[in-house]
């Protein structure tokens, strides 16, 4: 009688490391196919709309890129925390806080100062605001082992309510005809765009952050420490590393980078603060980071895929499918990815029971 047996590999299988994510995406679309068919939709038509909406024209591709930019930045933000096994699922709130702080600068200084002052100040403010939102759970975790997953998630709701308060109240544009929006930013507070498209300077910024991230994790002493602490905080403490300090530092930087994602969204795309500034970028970023196996350069590429999924998700609404189908696909990708990880770390062999 044959039985499946798992043997732990000495080293991760490089082939599986590439095959598993690719297969996961394909399998998720297969599951999506079944769900769509069961719900009475025509999967071929829906996927066709999805593809055309996301990649079918040069405009579609540019829109996909627009959605990919905040996913890249937020994906980088959470993957830094994940490297240390700090479960920062508060990127969504950190994005809102970054957008809030950047908007404050834009609304107050945008008219009177030039872009060389306003844009960097917006970035600094956004980083600081996101960093605060990450530092609070970081400090609680570092000193008292308070569960960071729940705190970061709860802070998302607080940040969103705060932005809602401002755009419905004190910051509301008097000429908005009741819509929850601030006045439009002055040109000095807007990121330059690429030609006629909405693709903005944030793309370059995302790549710069990715490269700095990659180099500092791979080649600096601090990066080495972060990797060791992610493997085992006990071992890191034994080796004399300051785990407490690094938990706070990593949460601070992670939150700050997510804050930048909020800044580039208001400065590059909406040019104002408004309700629902992020349609869940902070959550999708978690999947982007995991699918890229926390590799900053892979995050840039994976973010395009999920940008495409978001843009395509808007397109499928025309044929009566809920935008929520994109979330179904996202969750499913993650399941297959986790399930597939066993092939990366284990060798699967058929063993005969008698032999055991």
């Amino acid at each position: 009688m044959a039985k499946i047996k798992l043997i732990r590999r000495e080293k991760e299988s490089p082939l599986a490391r590439v095959l598993v994510p690719v297969t996961s995406v394909l399998m998720a679309f297969a599951v999506g196919w079944i769900i769509l068919a069961l719900a009475g939709h025509n999967p071929v038509l829906v996927y066709q709309k999805l593809y055309n909406g996301a990649l079918g024209s040069s405009y579609a591709v540019s829109e996909t890129m627009v959605k990919a930019i905040p996913l890249m930045v937020a994906g980088l933000a959470v993957s830094l925390a994940f490297k240390m096994k700090l479960w920062n699922i508060g990127a969504e709130g950190q994005i809102y806080m970054g957008a809030l702080a950047a908007s404050w600068i834009a609304l107050n200084l945008g008219q009177s100062s030039g872009p060389w002052l306003v844009i960097p100040l917006m970035m600094i403010a956004a980083f600081a605001a996101g960093a605060c939102w990450g530092l609070v759970p970081g400090v609680l975790k570092a000193y008292w082992q308070v569960n960071e997953t729940i705190i970061t998630l709860m802070l998302n709701y607080v940040a969103i309510s705060w932005v809602d308060y401002l755009v419905f109240g004190p910051w509301k544009d008097p000429n908005s005809m009741g819509f929850p929006l601030t006045p439009i930013f002055a040109p000095a507070a807007q990121l330059p765009t690429w030609g006629d498209s909405r693709v903005h300077l944030g793309l370059i910024l995302a790549m710069v952050i990715a490269i700095i991230f990659y180099l500092s994790i791979q080649y600096t002493r601090w990066g080495y420490e972060v990797r060791v602490m992610g493997e085992s905080s006990a071992a890191a403490r034994y080796a004399g590393m300051n785990v407490t300090k690094n938990i706070m530092l990593v949460m601070l930087i992670s939150g700050g980078i997510a804050g930048i994602a909020g800044m580039i969204e208001v400065s590059g795309i909406t040019h104002r603060l408004q309700q629902g500034i992020s349609p869940g970028y902070g959550y999708t970023a978690i999947i982007v980071a995991w699918l890229a196996r926390l590799n900053p350069l892979a995050i840039i590429m994976v973010a395009f895929l999920f940008g495409a999924l978001l843009v395509g998700g808007f397109a499928v609404q025309i044929v009566g499918v809920s935008f929520s189908i994109t979330q179904v696909l996202q969750g499913t990708v993650l399941f297959f990815l986790l399930a597939g990880e066993i092939f990366i770390n284990y060798k699967v062999v058929l063993a005969h029971k008698e032999v055991l």
């Binding site: 607080v158 309510s161 308060y165 999947i287 189908i325 179904v328 993650l334 399941f335």
Partner: protein, 309 residues
């Protein structure tokens, strides 16, 4: 506020705490067996959507409730498959479950947003007890699920601490190697506890869409699943403490709602933050006050690998 307003507020507290109690009891059971399931929010949403959809289509809220149980249980089964059999990361799998559940409930419930609900659970006044002055109005004039949630929590306490199954569940959560050595099937217990936990999360979600709201709105659980996860920590993994905790959070929710309708001079957006800020505060205070990790099952969120024992 006069005394009647207070009794109304306390009665609303019990109702608001009930869905959180169901979800927290379920999560507590799973965590006791060593499985952390952060998918509570997603399982509640699917329970809420399925409960509502099936009730509207069959005209029978009991059938709707069964659908919610099945939905929550099936989702938890995915989590169990990924984390128990395939040893995947429990945190990430739970997050996947929340994202998946939020999407699936929105997808299924698309055509059910805001439609009226004419079925549902009627108030069941307990004889004699419901006539008690004030106490009757607060505790004994609720629907049957409110009473069931309390009985369930007490039963779970009995199960965990007074039966041999409870001993097995706790030992699997504390030290799976030792449990395995005495012949307890670790995987099987973890599967059962996780799935039962998911069914209760589904039930909690259905309570919101069938009784508390009663309607279907996308993401209508609004973080209650996460509050339930926090509540398990607050309860120090003890079901009887979870009852008190659920009513504490229910009280915050009921009070927030009451203040909003009273037209208090504070923006409703700040009031909306209130339950989340209280959750943070409670979690921080409880974590700092207890000795580190006291109460948490030792093997929580650690996959069990027989070969490596």
């Amino acid at each position: 506020m006069d005394i009647n307003a207070w009794t109304a507020l306390l009665a609303a507290t019990i109702v608001a705490g009930t869905p959180i109690l169901f979800a927290a009891a379920g999560e507590l059971l799973a965590e006791r067996s060593g499985i952390l399931n952060l998918g509570v929010e997603g399982m509640m949403l699917v329970g809420a959507a399925l409960g509502f959809i099936v009730t509207v289509n069959t005209g029978n809220h009991w059938v709707g409730l069964l659908a919610a149980l099945a939905g929550g249980g099936s989702m938890a089964a995915i989590h169990a498959l990924v984390t128990v059999s395939l040893r995947g990361n429990q945190v990430v799998s739970g997050l996947a479950l929340t994202i998946f559940g939020s999407g699936l409930s929105g997808f299924l419930g698309k055509n059910y947003q805001g439609i009226p609900m004419n079925y549902g659970f009627k108030s069941l006044d307990l004889p004699v007890l419901s006539d008690l002055p004030y106490l009757g109005a607060v505790f004994f004039r609720h629907d049957i699920l409110v009473y069931f949630s309390v009985i369930l929590a007490l039963f779970m306490w009995y199960l965990l601490y007074k039966t041999k199954w409870g001993l097995a569940i706790r030992s699997v959560g504390e030290n799976p190697q030792a449990a395995d050595a005495v012949g307890i099937d670790v995987s099987r217990i973890r599967y059962l506890c996780t799935i039962a936990g998911g069914m209760l999360a589904g039930l909690g979600g259905a309570y919101i869409s069938l009784v508390y709201a009663p309607t279907w709105q996308e993401n209508m659980t609004a973080g209650r699943g996460w509050i339930a996860v926090a509540l398990v920590i607050f309860a120090l993994w003890n079901p009887t403490r979870a009852v008190l905790g659920a009513y504490l959070f229910g009280g915050v929710e009921a009070l927030t709602f009451r203040l909003q309708t009273m037209g208090i001079n504070l923006s409703s957006f700040f009031l909306a933050m209130f339950p989340y800020l209280v959750t943070i505060l409670v979690l921080v205070v409880v974590t700092i006050r207890r000795r580190q990790d006291a109460g948490a099952p030792q093997a929580l969120s650690v996959a069990y690998d027989r070969e490596e024992r």
